[in-house]
Symmetry: C2
Subunit: 399 residues, 2 copies
């Protein structure tokens, strides 16, 4: 009599995981260096020394009863103060400890924010292409997903399409910049346009539409580009952040929800997030990791490898005939499938031991995601397979 | 337009937290040593050296990309293997890695198990007195709570009362031994009787009733008593375990769900738990802590202080006229309120700077919970307050 929805979620792996597991089996068969696996967004560079040093120091010097004890549910006071001060300084905003709720990573931040802000029967807008787990998180709350396609060239959200999708049931929009899977970083102009539509529509429908900004890739940007701080453009914003990618500690599960103190009813939103965390079974974020964060504020893993990979892939793949927009952030390259059916192209690529995630589960068919958070040598080794795969596909297409 | 249920959960603290926060404020006013705070179940003894040593060694010796990277959602394979072997050896059962799903502590294990096993509109039976958060966890799934009172002398569940509460909507029963708040450890006889009722009723109503065994206090027992391993008595059991109390690391959030491999459809249950973990936003349990566990299997914090506290409290409080059943496990003493209204007695105790949680929110009025996971000196200092409080209450009662 179990919950069949949960059974289905647990027995059908995500398309990304499916490909990753295929790759794992294939590597065991023919050797790791012969499989060109670009399926997972798992950071390939180590955490900065500051992370390991802080951990070692805390374990050595702090009373274990306090170090490993429960913190308050919203997170250790001093940790929240340190993070709030850092945010305030970097973005020139007034943020304090009581606007921050520490979470077990960004996924938990998202499920807490969604559970707090959304009621069964409402709608949450996703901007396609989107991280597939958003759909799982939204639907678990009893709300429905509504999809708005991004513009094809820029992969930025189109404000007027967004306006058309909003109705009285719209509770929230999830925005993700730097973006997974496209690597797009939304421009200030784009964010202003989105904010304007949300404000106007909130007034029209008579209740606030919340903007949930999922920002695990905030620090992973290239060419010195800056990422607009969304709460400065739209008041009813909750930022979901994670240190997984910036500090290369994705398994440690540490992140936060930041409720914009300027939001309508910001204190009520904050309380609802605390309530959601309690109901979902998050007692507090892991305590040692909480206490590591103040030692690593403003520090990011060395992402020069990602940048090198990005440029190498972009140059070579364009040479081979692939079409891609230059990613400005994150560690994903989103290429147009050389043939209309991206799933079919993914299968063709597999024949060359090349593992690329087709974009269908991202809500945007016809593309493939390349996770380039790998060693540069892996890309160099994979280049012939990229060339052969497109040639194969185009040959097949002509026949 | 937020979710009002979550707002209420986040704005109204639990009675335990409320008292704890009162104590914190009071300590700031009159000095920590003058407040006798027995409100929280926060371990007061440090983690065993093996925990700190394993952490330090892993940080020093293991490649950080692997140490802090994502593990598979159900937990690192080698960690699950080590835990499964330990369980198999200790309880003489066949358990393997694929029966274990590592979680972000026992609360997460409970919310994952409940989300997997229970559907909206069904009922979950709680055995009162029970840990108040069970109600929050159950109600979030959309199921209703049904309460069965334990016997007053033993604080063991009464199988016949349990039978009366079961109907076609009954999906699961939560059982918690060693028990919070009573310290009772359910006897083998009691568990056999519960199992018999559940089997008979499952047959009658035509679907399995799951037993969810919440066991964070499994290792905290006194006088050499043994805790029956529930899956050996009832097949459709999921054990929710946490290392919070046994290793004194409650802030680190590491535990597991164990699906009895003998359960009907055990693989489907396991998949549903994986699905629930995914939907609730638990990507994996914290990776460093996962990898610490194999180094600490079979090890428990030094609980001799708890035992000393238990005996001291029991002797002295009985002398003063309190009535309590000897706790056999956990670190709670459950005393009968000297006057019928336990909340009123808690207020009287507060006048003596003595913080005891009234049992109303545990679903069993007329008692108070004393958390004795404190330094023994705190108990010694508190004894006069215990004496004065009961005298005060009884005097008031006679007037």
């Amino acid at each position: 009599m179990l919950n069949e929805k949960m059974y289905r979620l647990g027995s059908a792996r995500s398309e990304i995981r499916e490909l990753f597991e295929y790759g794992r089996a294939r590597k065991a068969e023919i050797g790791e260096e012969n499989v060109h696996d670009f399926s997972l967004g798992n950071p390939s560079v180590p955490c900065p020394d500051e992370v390991s040093d802080a951990m070692a120091k805390l374990i050595k010097e702090v009373d274990p009863v306090s170090l490993h004890g429960y913190t308050s549910a919203q997170g250790d006071v001093k940790v929240r103060e340190a993070i709030a001060n850092d945010i305030a300084k970097r973005y020139g905003v007034k943020v304090c400890k009581d606007d921050l709720y520490l979470t077990v990573g960004a996924a938990a931040a998202l499920t807490c924010a969604l559970t707090a802000l959304v009621c069964p029967g409402e709608e949450v807008i996703l901007l396609a292409p989107f991280f597939p787990e958003y759909k799982v998180f939204v639907e678990r709350t009893g709300a429905a997903v509504s999809i708005v396609m991004c513009d094809e060239e820029s992969f930025e959200p189109n404000a007027e399409n967004l306006r058309k999708a909003i109705n009285e049931k719209t509770a929230a929009v999830i925005i993700n910049s730097p973006n997974n899977p496209t690597g797009a970083v939304y421009s200030e102009e784009c964010i202003r346009a989105v904010a304007k539509v949300l404000e106007e529509c909130s007034n029209e429908i008579g209740h606030p539409i919340y903007l949930i900004a999922d920002e695990p890739y905030r620090e992973l940007v290239y060419d010195g580009i800056s990422v607009p701080f969304i709460p400065s453009y739209y008041t009813n914003t909750v930022v979901c952040y994670s240190y997984s990618k910036s500090l290369s500690i994705p398994g440690e599960r540490i992140g936060y929800c930041l409720v914009n103190p300027e939001a309508n009813d910001s204190q009520r939103i904050y309380a609802a997030i605390c309530g959601a965390g309690r109901a979902l079974g998050f007692v507090c974020a892991p305590s040692l990791l909480q206490k590591v964060i103040p030692h690593c504020l403003g520090i990011t893993s060395d992402i020069s490898v990602y940048d090198e990979n990005r440029q190498l892939l972009l140059t070579k793949l364009t040479d081979y005939g692939y079409k891609a927009v230059e990613p400005k952030g994150a560690f994903y390259l989103f290429i147009k499938s050389p043939i209309p059916d991206a799933k079919l192209f993914s299968e063709i690529a597999k024949k060359h031991e090349l593992l690329l995630v087709p974009s269908d589960s991202f809500g945007y068919p016809g593309y493939l995601r390349i996770s380039y958070c790998v060693k540069t040598e892996q890309i160099e080794r994979a280049l012939p397979a990229f060339r052969e795969a497109i040639n194969d596909a185009l040959r097949g297409d002509k026949q």
